[in-house]
Symmetry: C2
Subunit: 617 residues, 2 copies
């Protein structure tokens, strides 16, 4: 072997060309944010301590006044530039330059005159006396919308010109917060918990059951990939492969263009580990979130699925406000024990505290409409608790057997409350009252959502686990006893209930847990099935072809450890933490209604030759 | 507002159920790797200092001997378990348990007898005396391949049972190394350089030109997304939006199923920043890689595109070995200055050092075949430099005008070298000699590739920048003067050459740079066009419909800063750093030949109703 270090064909770059030049700013004390650029500071960086420094700033023309004062803005903030009286050359350069043009300004930092100090902006005590101004790129005079204190543009226009939208401080904050948050997630999982981040493929095989998956055709006829709705199968296979502490900030896909506020692609923090338990995963996530939110470690309360349904009429209750459902069934049967009772028929009430004044006949009509439309067969009425006892007779009309003593103890009604009473099929009654509970508190929650989050105030930040879910739910609109997974077909049945699988499947609980924050499901997971026979049995119960998951069943036969995991919805979590009205505000380039990308126009038509290549009609 | 902290419907988990129980191991001093599990240690963790500790281990049955010694393996390593002589109950449990079954073993750490100490494994000084053995999951007796020191399974079988493949130490190392490397990347870019990681969409609009993009049909007729081949447009729009320091570990897609060793989805480290220069980005990447590789900061040498082509016949030269192309053209014209010379016709030679012995007539025939097949019109011969001067007459036959004095000075030939001489169209001659240069060194490079990387030895780790690329290349198989981008249509022309755009476009250099490591292109980037008029002009020159990129042109009009960036191919880089023969060994679930997923069977056929829904034929 005759190996010699070759001589390099080095070519020194032409030094006079601006876009090629070396970083000539090393003489300045450049911070991290300015390294590898030709500016010395951002527009949010200069303070009184920088007075007399020579600086180079780059940014967008935010504002120009009496041909002397210029406000320069970048993604970090803004700074005032002053054109010296005698520098008509600089004034000429900036004359007629449209707002949002890109400028480079060299100058010297000076303290502002006392009467011009602005305490409300970080650079408000200084200004930069310009010595040199370069227009790096002139903007068009007609810009779709300007960057003012408040973004008034309609959302479609904002999405079409997302690059303008990014210039608002809110979007800058959201994107930077998201990046920092995910960095903390990785720091915790990798550096403090020895997890391994593994990138799993998104082009995979269609998953039976579950959400509709996008199809990706190939050049070969009848050969299609599917875009994964989650890395579920792949992370379980990692466990089988003894990659026992996995996570991924994973891109997932679902074709739900018909549903509002859904994105065709979204991000989930996907976690799986082996040799673990439900409580261990619950604890891991509590450690993780408290670390990322910079709050002392705490346990999140747990609510059973049954309690959540019975008390709040939903499996993702917003617990920032009280207000519970009361079951009135036992009042009905108390005096007629011998009559057989239809267990599915339920009387329940919801107490709306101090609502008598605001609760009109129109409100009731709305709720009755809701009952008729979405919860067929459910009746509903509302009774105002007033000084006279007329409300008592109204209630007795519905529940003739009411035991007043007991009701007073349980019903928790006070003067000026409104008692909403509903009766009908149990599941419908609970869901209806759950919906009314949310509806009634809409004004309170939107007020709460507009205020800064306070992690120590349960009215501001209220997180809980929902546990002990049923493993199966009756398949909607089916009366033949068909069932579907409450979570997904890989969830392990509760060991205490496994014997009921064949006889009473709907009574089997699953080892599934959801994380609910302020009424939003932000995550869910389970302990998984690791036994191939049990997996096959569950698939048969669900009427899913085992052949479609043969690779999983086979893998479980070759040494599959007990394992479990969870996935957190990052978009929703960021939206709550950033206090945005929609998840679109925490996604750089979200799709609009119906999956439309207003920026590029996608989805759109393609060339005929491409259609032919992929066998598209 | 009447908000009270609600009472929680807390349900204590059933404590006797193993999969539900709390992490009862807190009494042990559990390391990061074992937190949130029901083991105390991994199979690679116990040392002499742990003797007498009670431990709980989980893993796979690697080996069993004389019903006494059991080797337990997990993703971290292996450990020896001893079944005490008097514990027939434990021996019974393990009797007939197939290899690769999953076990939990409780026991006490003991020092091995001196004569049984194994110095070559980390746990070789201890063993665990078992007190309790649980079979967590019995494996099938017939397993496709076992986990031995060396993985002998064919690749298709390895991919089909990837979960078995993961159990080999090499795959464990590759996945963990990749995760750690990307963590270092993020630590550097976020914590030391203030970059923001932004997730950009993968469902976007088709990019004109470039690689073939996968199409994703929607339910609407003639409305298709395209899977992005890179976040190029999106990151440039972030720059327009003053998100001025962006990076992303980005999933990218290309439909190149027909090319070997390509993955339909791959990962690139995508970086872009504003107000920067070529040298600044070069420096940023040097800082980044030296940080991630834990080596002192160094500058990577730069080679101009012209030098790379002239000296090595390729724009991604492997510089671990010397061996350059010598241009012999001037020898041809030296004695006949008056004859007009076809500048495209070239005589060049490549000196293969000390190759006379191994270079057979068969070797030459192979190279001549290569010339005929791939570089039409190119002639090639080889001359062995031997003691007698017969080789001189051979060379003079080809180049009658050869000036021997000059040739001796430049040709750099020595006794026992082989001089490969080629002549024909310049581009073909250079490419052919470049291919022969690589081919001839194949045995040396495969030896080098099998040895540990030494960052300080240029024969082991040789990285360089290729700069001053041409902006355009002639479109292959076109003689009408049509051109295509050497990089992509967003690359800024070299300011010195911009005046040649209309007259001599092929002479315009672009501000494009590639990073080449050991003969592999591991990254490439450029300073981008930020002026909408220049962008439109370039698109017109490339014959690309401006309407297809209207959103970019429009964005550039609303205040686009000067900017540039780079993308590094993470799969290739990991493959080189992990010394794997293919990138598939550093990807958890790669596709096999033709984009086939051997594990799940994708791509495959889908239900007729899905085809109808998406208008597929």
């Amino acid at each position: 072997m005759n190996l010699i270090q070759p001589e390099w064909g080095w070519k020194k770059p032409a030094s006079h060309v601006d876009t090629l030049r070396s970083n000539h700013l090393s003489k300045y004390d450049v911070s991290n944010t300015n390294a590898h650029t030709f500016r010395t500071h951002t527009c949010n960086e200069l303070r009184v301590s920088d007075v007399d420094k020579d600086v180079v700033l780059c940014g967008w023309l935010q504002y120009q006044r009496i041909n002397t004062f210029v406000v320069l803005r970048d993604g970090y903030g803004q700074v005032q530039i002053v054109l010296p009286q005698d520098r008509n050359d600089l004034k000429d350069i900036l004359n007629d330059v449209p707002l949002e043009s890109v400028l480079q300004i060299k100058g010297t930092v000076a303290k502002r005159p006392e009467d011009q100090i602005k305490k409300n902006i970080p650079t408000g005590e200084i200004e930069v006396i310009a010595s040199d101004v370069t227009v790096l790129n002139k903007a068009d005079v007609n810009i779709p919308f300007l960057i003012r204190n408040y973004n008034k543009a309609k959302e479609d226009l904002r999405l079409k010109h997302r690059y303008l939208d990014f210039r608002f401080p809110e979007m800058q904050h959201n994107l930077r917060f998201r990046s920092q948050f995910l960095m903390k997630v990785r720091d915790f999982l990798i550096n403090q918990r020895d997890f391994v981040e593994v990138e799993t493929p998104t082009l995979f095989k269609q998953t039976p059951g579950g959400a509709r998956e996008f199809i990706v055709p190939t050049h070969e006829k009848n050969e299609y990939y599917s875009l994964v709705q989650s890395p579920q199968q792949l992370k379980q296979l990692l466990m089988v492969g003894s990659v026992d502490r996995y996570f991924q900030v994973a891109r997932c896909y679902r074709d739900e263009s018909t549903r509002p506020d859904r994105q065709p692609e979204f991000t989930q923090l996907d976690i799986e580990l082996s040799f673990t338990t439900r409580d261990s995963i619950v604890s891991l996530i509590e450690h993780l979130l408290c670390h990322c939110l910079n709050i002392p470690l705490r346990e999140f309360p747990r609510v059973s699925y049954q309690d959540a349904m019975n008390l709040y009429g939903t499996d993702k209750p917003d617990l920032r406000y009280e207000c519970k459902i009361t079951n009135l069934n036992h009042f009905r049967s108390s005096q007629s024990d011998t009559t057989p009772v239809d267990t599915d028929f339920t009387f329940s009430s919801l107490t709306l505290s101090k609502a008598a004044d605001q609760f009109s006949n129109k409100t009731l009509a709305e709720y009755q409409d809701l009952a008729k439309k979405s919860y067929s067969g459910t009746k509903i009425t509302a009774i105002k608790i007033q000084e006279d006892s007329s409300w008592r007779s109204k209630l007795t009309k519905i529940l003739p057997d009411l035991n007043w003593e007991e009701f007073n103890k349980e019903g928790n009604v006070k003067q000026d409350d409104v008692l909403v009473v509903a009766w009908g099929k149990r599941a419908h009654v609970l869901s209806l009252l759950g919906a009314i509970r949310v509806q009634h508190h809409r004004s309170i929650t939107s007020l709460l959502n507009s205020q800064p989050l306070d992690f120590n105030n349960p009215h501001s930040f209220n997180i809980c686990w929902i546990v002990d879910f049923p493993l199966f739910l009756p398949l909607e609109d089916q009366t033949n006893g068909a069932i579907e997974s409450a979570h997904h077909p890989f969830t392990l049945p509760h060991p205490e209930d496994e014997h009921l699988l064949l006889t009473k499947p709907l009574e089997v609980r699953g080892l599934h847990y959801d994380l609910v924050l302020n009424g939003n499901e932000i995550g869910g997971g389970s302990i998984r099935i690791h036994n191939s026979e049990l997996q096959e049995q569950i698939l048969r119960l669900l009427n899913i072809e085992t052949s479609s998951l043969q690779h999983m069943i086979q893998a479980f036969k070759y040494g599959c450890p007990p394992h479990g995991g969870i996935a957190l919805g990052i978009d929703r979590l960021m939206s709550i933490l950033c206090r945005t009205p929609t998840i679109r505000d925490v996604i750089a380039f979200p799709k609009g209604f119906g999956g439309k990308d207003h920026l590029s126009g996608a989805p759109c038509d393609i060339a005929k030759e491409d259609k032919d290549y992929y066998h598209l009609r």
